[in-house]
Symmetry: C2
């Protein structure tokens, strides 16, 4: 007969063991992208698979399930924090135990094969060769949705993997308003008659010096140098290996794209600050985890776009950049720099898009993937549907499927439900920013003095420290006093780009 | 009813899972010493402990034990390779299951506390404050020896942890011959009237350039750059994370000690080449593991001392070093360089010792630790015994216990039986070298041309590829045609240093 306290402790130990083993998996992944010798690929895959097996075995441990169920039923005997921890972990447990092992294995196998097929198809811009794989993937994702179960829409449980608690019913009106507001904004901007110089942004800047500047910016953002690292990798990423004390980011440097490096470091740095803001008391529990991919992305976009591409930061950082890169940036005025880094151009490629057009790429993908999962669109009709939306939203037609429907890896990997988190991140970021400006009215003055890190206590208190206590919708409501909507983001764009492009809305 | 083949496969899977999880532990350790942010110390300790728990749980799995026992009994139904794999893994299994969990935990706890006490004691040169911890450690190591069981000497099963199959009965005569031969050689050399210049060896060499040279030397040794890394750490080490495809070495650079860096890289590189020489077919089994610490050290010492401090390599590498470090080494003749890097000086500190005096430091420790475990020496009498042997072997008295009995961490950590593997490494290295010179008579010409890597096929075939098929004694016999002895090493020293110091023996 153990007491409820003892049972909670036992449950906590099991949770923390799983979390610790997962953090080891994080190191395997980080090392693979940054340091691992080339020939170790297969050995690393084996290490990851064996470790994943151990983690899965512990995660579906029926003793853990029994403890979670009992503790959840007796939640009134727990503290508030404990009750939240049990509630969220039980949610994870139930979701993961709903999938039969056979389905999990099939998902893994299919995603690996489909990924290989996608790489080849994209290279040859040959959608037809990828279509059978995408059909299989859509079918298995539907099976996954059925296994999870759902009330309204089979897309809901898939979305929930990335954005817990979010549903199509909540998301649809938000995304629709975003689309309706954004399409005319984009159209006005791309047809505006404004001249914006950008040639100075592609002048060569030595990579060694770019690295030093990126390190400096991490410090300016308030990152703890004793709890972080900056490395290089083919695709930039951020990972909390042992958040909050070991959070690492990576950048890909290009000699002719200094602003790209700075955007990368601020984007990944925003993610990293969230991980460094985890409350140390709750490490290994849901209160020491992030809310969702959307909220994570809100932190990266806040730093990358709202701050990093804002006028105050542009004016602050330019003189320093001119010191380090006099040949590239000497003689450029702060306003020219600010305008240059905010030039809007419609492009067929999502990852090349600016902050104005970006979300239309996401809206398009959300609409299409939701239709696929709901059997309202056939895979064979996908390229045509893609191109039609591209014309409607961004006034362009991709020159081929490689530049169109085949450009992203997400669907090949079975990541249906991932795309909308990018836009959720942008919407949350601007809604948080509105709230932050009310609480810290001189925020832009601070940024202009390089005191960006002084906003960190606000982010910590309002967002980072909460872990998974609130859902995305609850958190946005708490922080901003109103429900999540596209309006703050649309207002932000109109104010900023109206001025840059001389447009009266 | 499964067939013997199926049982072997099942056993192999379990073995490989354990080996893979251990390799993940290797990455945790490497990262901790090279890349980990400072604040992650406790989190990393937790990761290592949890992973060790998982590995232990799988290692003592009774199903594994039953499979190993049955397969070993039916070894005649297995292939030769399979039989060796089962024999060696059963040996590991039985050894590890002989220790009660309570003793394992006590060993871990005591070694951590005793290590802290040792750090403080060494700082204040206060042996008395460390003595109670050492007494406890000796007592628990005796308990460990009893738990393992032994025939002749309680030191045997402790030695076996580092040098499997080796016993005091075999080792004593070898070490005694080494001591008897070496003491007069050292005495003659340190009293010889030879002038050896070394001032040019401590001239500043930029660390950036030292790194480049060390990388170059790795290539000259034949290390596969796609299966290795070179990094920095406080203490140089080599680790096979996923041998043979991911083997990493680290160096500590000092601006005024270029030759130190080169020695480090050749020492660690020798270890790394052994790990890269593992037969890929046997990864995860004892045939994909090294024989012992002694054989591992034979590879590092062969490259560091016999090759790296040999005349041929000195003549080959100096011109290249002079290109990179003209200020430090310009005008130094190859012979002056060769003599300089081989200067012999008796020092109280083992890790500072040259290849001539080094083994007397080891002999002294072996004799003392064997006496402690056999209750023939009291801990209280250890400092006096240490200093007396120092005078007898190296003609010097440490100025205090910090420079004497307290200098090494091994005893604090309970690593009794580790020290002799250093000398075994040196003896095996010179005995292997004698054999190698017979098989490759022009080896020194090759080295003088920088073609060191051409000896790699010989090392691979004779040593690396064998895994744990043979014991140290068997391997030496197979490679050199005679039993292991000190004579090759003593002959090597007399020939080399007789010439340098102008001594006729």
């Amino acid at each position: 007969m153990s007491t409820i306290g003892e049972k909670y402790q036992r449950c906590l130990e099991k949770m923390k063991e799983i979390s610790t083993l997962s953090s080891v998996g994080g190191l395997l992944a980080w090392d693979q992208e940054t340091k691992m010798p080339e020939r170790a690929g297969n050995a690393r895959a084996e290490q990851s698979a064996v470790l994943a097996g151990v983690i899965h075995e512990r995660f579906i441990d029926p003793e853990l399930g029994d403890l979670l169920h009992e503790l959840h039923e007796r939640a009134e005997e727990l503290s508030d924090d404990e009750a939240v921890i049990v509630r969220e972990k039980l949610r994870d447990y139930e979701k993961s135990t709903k999938l039969p092992a056979e389905l999990v294995q099939e998902l893994a196998r299919l995603s690996s094969l489909s990924q290989s097929a996608w790489i080849k198809a994209r290279m040859k811009s040959d959608f037809a060769s990828f279509a059978p794989w995408l059909e299989k993937t859509v079918a298995i994702k539907r099976r996954q949705a059925e296994a999870y179960g759902y009330e309204d829409n089979p897309y809901d449980p898939l979305l929930d993997d990335y954005e817990p608690h979010m549903t199509v019913k909540e998301l649809d009106p938000i995304i629709e308003n975003l689309r309706k507001g954004l399409v005319p904004i984009v159209s006005k901007i791309i047809h505006a008659d404004a001249s914006i110089e950008t040639d100075f942004l592609s002048r060569p800047c030595p990579i060694m010096d770019q690295k030093a500047v990126c390190k400096e910016i991490m410090g300016i953002m308030g990152m703890d140098p004793n709890a972080s690292r900056l490395d290089e990798s083919a695709h930039p990423f951020s990972i909390g290996i042992s958040s909050p004390v070991d959070v690492r980011i990576t950048i890909r440097y290009q000699e002719d794209n200094l602003v790209g490096s700075i955007s990368n470091v601020m984007h990944e740095g925003g993610h990293a600050l969230y991980e460094q803001g985890i409350d140390e008391r709750f490490v290994g529990t849901p209160l020491g985890e992030s809310v969702s991919l959307g909220i994570h992305e809100s932190q990266s976009r806040l730093w990358e776009n709202i701050i990093g591409r804002g006028r105050a930061f542009a004016h602050f950082i330019l003189p320093r950049l001119q010191e380090v890169f006099p040949d590239a940036l000497g003689g450029v005025s702060p306003e020219a720099f600010y305008r240059g880094i905010n030039k809007v151009a419609s492009t067929p490629i999502r990852v090349d898009a600016d902050e104005v057009t970006y979300n239309l790429h996401v809206v398009l993908r959300y609409e299409l993937e939701k239709a696929l999962i709901n059997d309202e669109l056939r895979v064979a009709d996908l390229p045509a549907a893609w191109n039609e939306k591209m014309r409607g939203y961004l006034e362009l037609t991709p020159k081929d499927d490689a530049q169109g429907v085949l450009q992203d890896t997400h669907w090949a990997l079975g990541m249906f439900g991932y795309f909308p988190t990018y836009s959720l991140g942008n919407l949350c970021a601007s809604q948080f920013w509105s709230a932050l400006k009310k609480d810290i009215p001189d925020v832009n003055d601070r940024i202009a003095r390089g005191e960006c890190a002084t906003i960190l206590p606000w982010l910590r208190e309002k967002i980072h420290h909460n872990g998974r206590r609130y859902t995305t919708m609850q958190l946005v409501k708490r922080v901003s006093g109103e429900g999540l909507s596209a309006s703050h983001f649309l207002d932000y764009l109109m104010e900023k780009y109206g001025e840059i492009y001389g447009i009266g809305w």
